[in-house]
Every structure is written in structure tokens, then in C-alpha cells.
Amino acid sequence: MIEVSGISKRFGAVQALDGVSFVARDGRITGLLGPNGAGKSTCLRILYTVLRADAGTATIDGIDLRERPLLARRQLGVLPHGAGLYPQLTTRENIAYFGRLHGLAEPALAARIEELIARLDLAEIADRRAKGFSQGERTKVALARALVHAPRHLLLDEPTNGLDVMATLALRRWLEELRSQGQCIVLSSHVMQEVAALCDDIVIVAHGRVVAQGTAAELKHRFGAKSLEEIFVETVTGA
């Protein structure tokens, strides 16, 4: 479970986050929905500990990110914006590198990589260098890399960006599979249909603040049975 309580972050004159709070529960997919520049990426970056919040606290299974970032990272799988693979390494090597950095021992690591290659349908590109991969292939490999240490929590920044329909559907299927295994998944997106189709809990972020949150049904109920689209526009422009 990920608990975020009142986190703020300022870059120079820009207040990127201003007291953001939400809870992402296990076995559910939580979507951070918001327009570009709303602070979604900043929020995720704080959760995967490459940025530190100016104020507020965030915990992963009770581990304070600020106090014990290395321990928190062990519980986290991260798919950052853009896959960020090493072009000169093969799929297998890209995944293995992160596995080793997560401290996996060789026999277990090899078995885990085979498992991921089978599950994410990577056999065809397993021994090819990442240089010429399509966006879909890159995202798949990056997802395998994020899952190599079998984390209980998964953070994805705009995961469907640049993916075609087939790749998007495949990604959805995997995320749903992970959810059924009890994982806690947080993803960000500016595409409302995607969040509506995939997420159990929706957190709408605008101008660094949470302007609405709840399940799709709760949000519809609260805003008088409007469509998610109308709710989005209303909350974002009203903030």
C-alpha cells in the first residue's frame, strides 16, 4: 500500500505539487489523471525516490521514503517516462543488469528472466540489442525490467505513450494480471479513456493539487451522473 500525505514540491518559482494526498491500495490500479504539467510525473518521481518532497510524507508498506529510500526502492518496480533501455545491450542483458543491481543471485535471476520473457512475450527479441526496438517492444522490455525483482508495487509514468492499439491492449492485460496477483499499481496518464478503462481508483490532479478522487462510480455519483469527461473538465478548469 502506498500512502501519500500532503506532499509539496517547488522548483524555483514553480509550485509543482501543493499538498497532494491519496492512498493506493494493494490489488487495485490507481490512476493519476491530469493535464500535461499538472504534477503527475513529479509526484511519481517523489514516490520512486529520485526527488525528495519539500513537505509531507509518503510511505510504501509503512516504509518512509524520506528516511529509508533504499529499502523503499526494493518494494518498487518503476517504468519511468520513456523506457530508457541500453541500446547496446540485448533484452536479456537489459533485464539482467537491473536484476543484479537489485541483488538477485545468478541462478534465481536467470530463471526469473526466462519467466518474464515467456510472460511478456519477449522470446523473439530476447537476444537482440535494444537499438532498433519499436516503442511497444521498448515498453515491454522496460516493464520486464521493472518486474525483475518481483516488486509488490508498480509505478508507471504514462505507460501507454506512443504505443499502438495492440500494444496498449497487451499492456492493459498484463496490468490486470498483476492486479489479480494483489499488486499495488499506480500509473499516470493524461488520457481519460485509458484511466476509465483500467483504473479502480482515480485521482484527478491539476496545478499540483488533487481536485477529485474516488472510484469511477463514486466520482459519477458525486458529480451528478456526469460523464468522466465532463467531470475531468469541470474539476481541472475549476481548480
Binding site: L51, Y86, L89
Partner: protein
């Protein structure tokens, strides 16, 4: 060395072994290009200075008809009057200024009378001192003219019953105590420069690729989410950079060992004290410089925003370690303990001593290594600090 540092180092070594740019700068620039350039440079210098001595040169002699004996004497020493040369002082001055002739001789119209009367017979040498080649030619001509003046002067004294030595109060003999190997240092002094450059070039692309390159590719962000201290990540990257620098240095030394066998140093009475043992000692001496070089390059590269920017700044960084060498050349310093604390200068002095066939001074080498490693550690620590900044992600 802790496990993650090794993991990072191994991955960077592997990844860069597949990168053509890194391989080019590690395997080509240092080991092949530098020794070849060096051998060619020295060969050209040698053949120029050796060939220049014996080859006849043509020089405009204005008023040659006034001094046939002098002209004959010049011709005997390979200085021949130029055909179709300038025919007046002004024309000669123009010709030398334009560079169509290095030197011109102008014989005064009063020369025959003055010469016969043992008076003030004048010969003018027109020369452009800003041209180094012309300076060498003018020195040669001048030496022959001086020899002629001395010879005629001695004959005149003898004709008057005087011993020619009366006009020479002091006779100077020179005893050159330098050894053949020590003389070759003048030329081989450039060697450390090439070796340092090749060593840095070996790690050049790695330092960029592992910092600015990683950020530009977007792989830095996921890397920073693994449960490994940033210091370990950066130290692993620097370790990989050092590996490539050492590889480049080793290969370059092999290259030089081969290249120097093609340089006719004996022709100048020089001998290069360069064999496998000396090369191994040079490797040891310069190896202590690699952590510092890697740390400086990594520090600079991780401060820049892009691959291109890093390349620009690092090219300037390549020059930094060569500054002490220039200074050493200008001030003609000798090795002592205080200088051994200065990285790159100390290595230069130690390598120079080795080339002179002086046995390696282990205390000097120890101080040199300590100084370089300490500064390297300090700069590595600074790079690690910089690696912790949030703006690192850009």
C-alpha cells in the same frame, strides 16, 4: 569493492565494447594514431635536420664579381650562387621578405679595394629571422663566411710573421657529458604528452556515455530507482572508465615500442631507452594518473546537460593535464619531492627519467602515485556529491 560497483563496472565495460566510438578512441587513437604520428614527426624532423647539412643550397649573391675567391670558398661548402636571382639589394630584400629565398648575400662594391688594403671589406647577409628554416640556412651561411674570414685573417698574420693565435685570447673546447639516451629525451619528451593524451582519450567517450549520455537516453532515471547508493553507481562507472583508460595506455605503449624501432635515433647520436621493462614501468607510473583523469572527466561530463556539451567541455579538459608538461618544458625543471605531488607533471618527470635510462626512483614514484590518487579521490568525491543533485535528471 562491493558487489553493485562491480555490476555497474562490468555492464559499462561490456556495453562500451559494443560502441564504435569508444572502441575507436580506445583502440585506434591512442595505440595506433599517436605512435604513428610520433614516428612520422620525429622522422621528418630528423631527415630535415640531417639532410639540410650536406645538401647544396642556392643563394642569391649580389656583387659576386667583386669577390671571386669568397664565392669559390662558398661553393666548396655547398653554397652556390642562385641563377636568375635578384640583382640589387632592394630586389634581394623583397625576395627574402616574400620567402622565395631564405637568405641573400650582398657584397659591397668597395669590397675589392678594401680587401686588398686589408681594410673594412663588407658583406651583408639579408635574412628573415621570423622564419625558423631561414634561420638555420643563415646560420650555415654565416658559419662559412666566418670560416673564410678566419682563414684569410690567419694567412695575413702568418704573412706578417705573427702566430694567428695572438688574436684568439681564449680557445674554447666543449665537453658534452650527456649520454646518447639522455640526448634522445629532447625528442622523447613529447612521449609523455602523447601517452597522457591517449590515456585520457581511452576513457573520453565512456565518461560521457555513463553520465550525460545515460541521461540523454533516459536510462538514468530507471537506474536511480534501484536500491543501490548513487555513490556506488558512479564509482562503478568511473571504474569502467579507468579500465578503458588503462587498456588504451597499455596498447599505446605497445604501439610506441613498435613505432620507436622505426625511428633512426642513432643517426643523431641518440638512443631510446624503451623496451618491455621500461614500458611496464611507464605503465605503472601513468596508471596512478587514471583515477584522477577518470574523475575529472566524469565530474565535467555529469555537470553538462547533453552529450554534445559534454564533448565540447571534455575536449578542453584533455588539455589540462598537458599544462604542467608545457611548464616543465619552459622552466626545464628537474625531479624533486615537492614536484612529485603535482599530478601529470610528476608522471612526466618520472617517465623522462626512465627514458634517460635512470633507474626508477621508487620513493618518487610512491609520492607521485599518492598525490595523484589523493586528488583523484577528492575529485571523485566531488563528482559523487554532484551526482546527488536533483537537477541531475534535467
Amino acid at each position: 569493492m562491493s558487489e553493485p560497483i562491480l555490476v555497474v563496472c562490468r555492464k559499462e565495460v561490456l556495453e562500451n565494447a559494443r560502441d564504435r566510438r569508444t572502441l575507436f578512441s580506445t583502440l585506434f587513437f591512442g595505440p595506433i594514431f599517436a605512435p604513428a604520428l610520433f614516428a612520422v614527426l620525429i622522422n621528418v624532423t630528423l631527415s630535415q635536420s640531417l639532410a639540410g647539412v650536406d645538401q647544396p643550397i642556392e643563394i642569391p649573391i649580389i656583387g659576386a664579381e667583386h669577390a671571386p675567391n669568397l664565392t669559390d670558398f662558398l661553393e666548396r661548402y655547398g653554397i652556390e650562387p642562385a641563377a636568375n636571382g635578384p640583382e640589387s639589394l632592394d630586389a634581394a630584400r623583397d625576395a627574402v621578405t616574400r620567402g622565395s629565398h631564405d637568405v641573400a648575400i650582398v657584397i659591397d662594391p668597395n669590397y675589392p679595394d678594401a680587401f686588398r688594403a686589408a681594410g673594412d671589406a663588407r658583406v651583408m647577409l639579408v635574412v628573415d629571422r621570423s622564419q625558423s628554416r631561414a634561420t638555420a640556412t643563415s646560420q650555415r651561411v654565416r658559419a662559412v663566411l666566418d670560416a673564410y674570414a678566419d682563414q684569410v685573417g690567419a694567412l695575413r698574420l702568418q704573412a706578417r710573421g705573427l702566430n694567428p693565435t695572438v688574436t684568439r685570447a681564449v680557445t674554447i673546447d666543449e665537453l658534452d657529458v650527456s649520454t646518447a639516451a639522455a640526448r634522445s629525451v629532447l625528442l622523447l619528451g613529447m612521449l609523455t604528452y602523447f601517452l597522457l593524451l591517449a590515456t585520457l582519450a581511452g576513457g573520453f567517450y565512456l565518461a560521457i556515455d555513463t553520465t550525460a549520455g545515460e541521461r540523454e537516453r533516459g536510462s538514468l532515471e530507471p537506474l536511480l530507482t534501484v536500491p543501490v547508493a548513487r555513490a556506488s553507481l558512479l564509482l562503478g562507472k568511473m571504474a569502467a572508465t579507468i579500465c578503458y583508460m588503462l587498456l588504451s595506455l597499455a596498447l599505446t605503449l605497445v604501439g610506441f615500442t613498435i613505432a620507436l624501432s622505426f625511428v633512426p635515433l642513432d643517426a643523431l647520436g641518440m638512443r631510446a631507452n624503451f623496451n618491455a621493462v621500461v614500458a611496464a614501468q611507464i605503465f605503472l607510473v601513468l596508471a596512478s594518473f587514471t583515477p584522477l583523469g577518470a574523475a575529472i572527466m566524469t565530474l565535467v561530463a555529469s555537470y553538462t546537460r547533453s552529450y554534445k556539451e559534454a564533448q565540447t567541455y571534455l575536449t578542453l579538459v584533455l588539455l589540462v593535464p598537458t599544462l604542467p608538461l608545457l611548464l616543465a618544458g619552459l622552466l626545464n625543471v628537474r625531479p624533486d619531492f615537492s614536484l612529485m605531488w603535482i599530478p601529470s607533471l610528476s608522471q612526466h618527470l618520472l617517465v623522462t627519467e626512465l627514458l634517460k635510462a635512470t633507474p626508477l626512483s621508487w620513493p618518487f614514484a610512491a609520492v607521485s602515485a599518492t598525490g595523484s590518487l589523493l586528488l583523484g579521490g577528492l575529485i571523485a568525491a566531488l563528482a559523487v556529491r554532484l551526482y546527488h543533485r536533483e537537477t541531475l535528471l534535467g
